[in-house]
Symmetry: D2
Subunit: 342 residues, 4 copies
């Protein structure tokens, strides 16, 4: 993949002519990124060499990347991407901790858990409104009503709210109520959904498919980025293996791999990755120690009565203890990393 | 899961009252199936025993199933489901053989391949119009135009045509042109899509996700069935494993497993499952020998120039040889199975 | 990898000098194969080009292989390897069918099953004497006594007998009683065992480890071949995946892959690969249709009372039916393959 | 599984009579554990109830376990097992850190690395003498000579030394030179080897097979324990999955799972689990944060020239930094765990 970098001052006419000349030398032009402050970037592919590309296009620089997820790569942007969450999280200062129930069950329940999760130290609140269940006879979520309750959570607690969307249509509805739109593991390669999210201006929490490689996760992120939306959070939530002791296998290797290859923030979801609440704290600490930027955790005021995912949901008390520990490990790991640089 | 069977003569009012009484004893009612000739079936779940259920509902029979995919199960329907394809395939008489290119590239190409595939003995024609690619910079298909060309293929050759859809919106467009709507592996658990397809009257070719269990495949089929569409073809297309010699691993065990558990037809896709054209014939014969009802195979008049999936695409000549062999193995296996029953 | 081919007439002194000169140009010499009728082959690796190698060594030909399992490869020997089993099997004429119980339980049981399996059409008899069980508290086999009973089976039925060995020591004991020594999946990379078997003159049935790639299987075979024993049968017995419906996943792709890459016979083990007797026939037919040379199947006169692996063991009657069907599919596939060559 | 606990004072005759009476009520007796200070424990299985077992055997207590690895379980022993390493490690006080090269190459190399690793803060030294390689043409280790050099390492540095054994024969040789005998992933279910190690008095480092479940790992440990050797260290070293970015996938979930189920120490091997030296530090910190008791890491004074596993081997400098960080994370996690108990 190639990026041709033009000065911000390039005119529309100049750009149109440049693209035409690129086509005349059999180059494929994929996308134009106008979001950078100091340049306009054209993503393309070509057999031509740098000199020819510069001459034909009038670009001021050529960037080449070995990987196809060029916009998600460190080659394109080395500094980590900030995700503005109404001032609730500052990358690098502290881990982003998202807590909440698997499903929004009713208004009273969700507000009660939200206040408790807020007090326990969460930075954002999660809750499922539309639920993609394996069985059509399992609880499918309360739907749009759930988004409305989540908006009320934000109004009462000030916490940004996160919920899953499964189609372009749901994404448009959700974006009126919700701060961060989540793509679930089953939809990581739902191309129409990714394209639709790329055209919205809300941050997207993109969960890794449970048999997707890290490269495929980055390529799914690239679908969103190339459509203009640069606010993507990656999330490792466990992959499918032969091991039956845990629901999935948390791929801890993916944390340093994704951090090395991409500037996008990386979160861990220890709830789904283990399926057992007893292991959630250990895996949370491990993810942070490995370099993750944050966590998304299923929390309930009464886990055993949760309508879905009860066995992997922790109590508010356990969550509060976990948050404290996670912050300490984050601070220690960060200070040791800084020491390396001195 | 429980099915309460009512006589075809039950009135709307009687049914409404029955459902109300079922709710009063804490039963969950999921769907009403009106498609059977001789009964109306209510799918529900309840802790009550048979006697109580019959008394409260006025139903004439209670069916109980251990599995959640009750409509897809042999417990519900033991005889294999027929999929009408304009007279092009009769279940049990011969294997259903679907051939065609990965992507519809242009009108001339698709018509040329279609005629060749027709002569080689195919029962239906496949071609991708909207392509769900891993990379946003890979060829994404020619879109709706592709559906139009496929309709022309049917007009010229008489073959039913099959193409993939990735969203409810695409499904509605496709259903005007296409005979069988395909759900790709990446969308096997795309719930809004499954629900939309369940409300259409076109057969659905449902591919197994590459890390989905056979139970999950049947539950995805159940989403379609419970919405009223009974025409679902299951397709094993390879699962993801540690083996790197082939693109995926064809799960041959899934063939007898699906046939044992479900009345839905089972197809094999040896092209994606191997990723290597050299292995396509062997795996085709194996799938049929194991009991598969048919195959879907990537064929091209010039495989090496195919715009996508070239390495796993066979030539028309190889396809013609394969069709002859597959039919012989199918006939032999069928005759031996019949002999068992004598 | 490189093979330097010398005429059969090369003297010991000439060979010693050749090896010394090869070392002087930094070549690594791994093994000398004296088993071919018309040549002596030196397996080595070197950066030197063909001309230099021929000049320095006095060899008459240089063979180069991309793969490390050079002796197991088609590049080294294109015609399939024959495994003499006292006239009980002739490669290409019919499938090799091995039947018998998981464990040799006692003398009466094993003789009874052996006679039944013989009558049902088996070419060889299997039975475990030393059993590598997952749990130390599970039945570990009756040990050496089992080998003695198997020798009695051969004396009474004329069938060659097969049993597993887990160490060099067991291999030496077994080779006094047993015709074919089996390496189980758990020992596929037990290097001291492979080396010991390479020095014996008995055929070895090498089972694929349940998470070994086909390349690793061929490299394990290469350990045996390079030690001088050329009689190796490869066996696909299922790999470990996320699917829980079956005990393992039979990797049907491995059948054409192994046949394409290697001249060694390839068997299938549908009993372990499925773990369910209902699926054994389907997978047997599939393996043969895909090109396998034979099968190894767990059979018992009373499967439900078998001391180990009962659920995947078929009855003698089911085995007899299966043998007949397998032979028909084998004959059909063979005749169609021959037609391709005309 | 059942354990019948007898007082230490039970006589041989009483025990023999007890076993005979247990057999008379169809109980299976598997092993007698005489290693506890205050009791003699008989491991058995039986359908009889507690009262009958106590009456028939004269035992003073009955312990029942749901799991088959009863001696390895927390039900049998809740306090963590100490592994005496000549005073080099005290469980709970600090992590056990083992470093050294993949292969012992020559005397000078191994002594040089050993001194460097010692200074960098390692508690023990590892080095392979007999190497189980996938290819027979890859370096197979320098053999027994390697054990001798390792003994010299201990003499010079005072560090306990660890090396792999692949057969009972190698185990007997190694136990004259080596402090901890390692079972590699490929031999985790090599039953004759496990049985042999169970009869030696050296600690065993048991690596998890790369497609073994944690339950199977504990059952392999049980083979060693039931033979009388109670000094087993478990080691997670990565499992095989579909992901190709890293050599294996470190199963971080296994750390809390093994700690919850067993009293045996749990180590992590981030070198093999990642295959990439860049990720070794992240995974080391993660393993410790998740509760691991220690680490085994491949270190070399010149990683790029290492004869095997170079890409996953860290430099001595990187190892020294890693040791410091690991100790800090261990101390923090330990202090937080203690705070939970207050």
């Amino acid at each position: 993949m190639i990026i041709l970098r033009f000065p911000k001052s390039v005119t529309k006419k100049e750009l149109t002519q440049a693209l035409a000349r690129l086509k005349s030398i059999h180059s494929d032009v994929y996308a134009i990124n106008r979001e950078r402050q100091d340049s306009i970037d054209v993503i393309c592919d070509s057999d031509a060499d740098d000199d020819k590309l510069l001459k034909m296009s009038g670009a001021i620089a050529v960037l080449r990347s070995q990987v196809s997820y060029i916009l998600a790569s460190r080659a394109y942007q080395n500094v980590g991407t900030d995700i503005p969450l109404s001032g609730h999280w500052q990358r690098g200062a502290a881990p982003l901790i998202i807590g909440g129930p698997c499903s929004v069950e009713d208004r009273v329940q969700v507000l009660e858990i939200a206040h408790a999760v807020h007090e326990a130290g969460a930075d954002a609140f999660r809750g499922g409104a539309f639920k993609p269940r394996t069985s059509p006879y399992a609880f499918q979520g309360i739907g749009k009503k759930g988004y409305e309750y989540l908006a009320e959570v934000r109004a009462q607690t000030g916490l940004p709210v996160i919920s899953e969307v499964m189609s372009a249509e749901q994404a448009h509805i959700a974006s009126e109520y919700i701060d961060v739109l989540q793509v679930g593991a089953r939809n990581m390669q739902n191309v129409p959904l990714l394209n639709a999210l790329g055209k919205l201006s809300k941050p997207v929490l993109l969960k890794r498919g449970f048999s997707a490689t890290t490269e495929e996760l980055l390529l799914s992120a690239e679908y969103i980025l190339r459509n203009g939306n640069r606010q993507v959070l990656l999330c490792e939530r466990g992959i499918r293996t032969f091991e039956t002791e845990t629901r999935f296998t948390f791929d801890i290797n993916a944390v340093p791999a994704l951090k090395e290859k991409s500037h996008l923030p990386v979160l861990g979801d220890p709830s789904h990755a283990t399926g057992k609440r007893n292991y959630v704290e250990s895996i949370s600490l491990a993810a942070i120690a490995a370099g993750a930027d944050g966590l998304i955790i299923e929390v309930h005021t009464d886990p055993d009565s949760a309508i879905s995912d009860g066995p992997q949901t922790v109590s508010v008390e356990a969550f509060a203890r976990l948050v404290k520990k996670v912050k300490k490990v984050y601070a220690l790991v960060k200070s040791m990393r800084r020491a390396d640089d001195l």
